[in-house]
């Protein structure tokens, strides 16, 4: 087989956040009982879409597992230490990781079973954490955020008006939201306004990964 096309990895050192001017660390809104939500950007992530050819979904899930260590299957999404993956459409997975070699590792692992598209330049990953997180998200999306309906590790695709969003539950009170980079500024604004009644904290970014 010919040498596969490998996209240029994320260059976190020179990349710029689309919400840098809005990501002002501090506490805002109704702070009567303190900030109940923490908002941050997971900046500089490697973000890939993996699309299996028909009939090759199981082989593709296994390849994602080999490339990332994630226990994804055709039926199960996964959150790991170094990567996260979820099926957002039949035979299509979103895989994110901090390691910029993600696209190359996935491309080599899936071989001819699937295609890998590097979306790092086109998506922004926002994180919402805290006890009021599900209340904020329920204002923005027509999705059941109860843990029984939306268990830890599950990811899905939905939309907030015209803003398509992919959402993965990282733990009981933490969600990662992937939105188009061009909508990130507007969506982050909506997120802060929805969080006002609960009090929110904007977490300062560190080099690479912001803390939550």
């Amino acid at each position: 087989m010919a040498e596969p096309f490998i996209s240029t990895p994320v260059m976190a050192a020179t990349a710029q956040s689309p919400i840098a001017d809005a990501l002002l660390p501090g506490e805002y809104g109704n702070l009567a009982i303190g900030a109940q939500v923490a908002l941050s950007e997971r900046f500089g992530l490697a973000i890939c879409d993996v699309c299996a050819w028909p009939g090759l979904e199981t082989k593709t899930a296994n390849a994602i597992k080999r490339a990332t260590g994630l226990a994804v299957t055709k039926r199960r999404d996964a959150v790991g230490e170094a990567a996260q993956g979820f099926q957002h459409a039949p035979g299509r997975w979103t895989v994110i990781a901090e390691d910029p070699s993600l696209a190359e590792r996935l491309t080599r692992a899936v071989s001819a079973n699937a295609t890998v598209v590097d979306l790092a330049h086109g998506r922004t990953c926002l994180r919402i954490a805290g006890e009021a997180g599900t209340s904020v998200l329920a204002k923005l999306f027509a999705i059941d955020f109860a843990e029984k309906a939306f268990p830890v590790a599950k990811g899905l695709a939905t939309s907030h008006h015209a803003v398509l969003a992919q959402i993965q539950r990282v733990d009981a009170q933490t969600f990662d939201l992937l939105v188009f980079r061009s909508y990130a500024r507007t969506f982050f604004h909506a997120l802060t306004r929805a969080s006002e009644e609960f009090g929110y904290r904007i977490v300062p970014p560190r080099a690479g990964e912001p803390e939550t």
């Binding site: 459409a89 039949p90 027509a142 899905l156 695709a157 939905t158 939309s159 398509l164």
Partner: protein
Amino acid sequence: MIIPCPFCGPRDLAEFTYHGDAARAAARPAHGSTDQEAWDRHVYDRRNPAGSHAEIWQHAGGCRSHLRVVRDTRTHEITETTLYAPEVSQ
């Protein structure tokens, strides 16, 4: 109206786009056909039933799959949703 997507589960109508009848009243003529009446029937004739109706929807605001949905046009009750696989879309 809530449409139960076979992949995503029940979702709000706002996430879906209507793509037309799943069962046309008149079959598509052959590509080379110049039978104007046959094309006219295929393009414009609709059964327009008061009751069970097979239709194509796309879950554009979710998994983006095309679905075959059977909906009652009087009550909006949905009795069937399946992924609209390429092999049945020809």
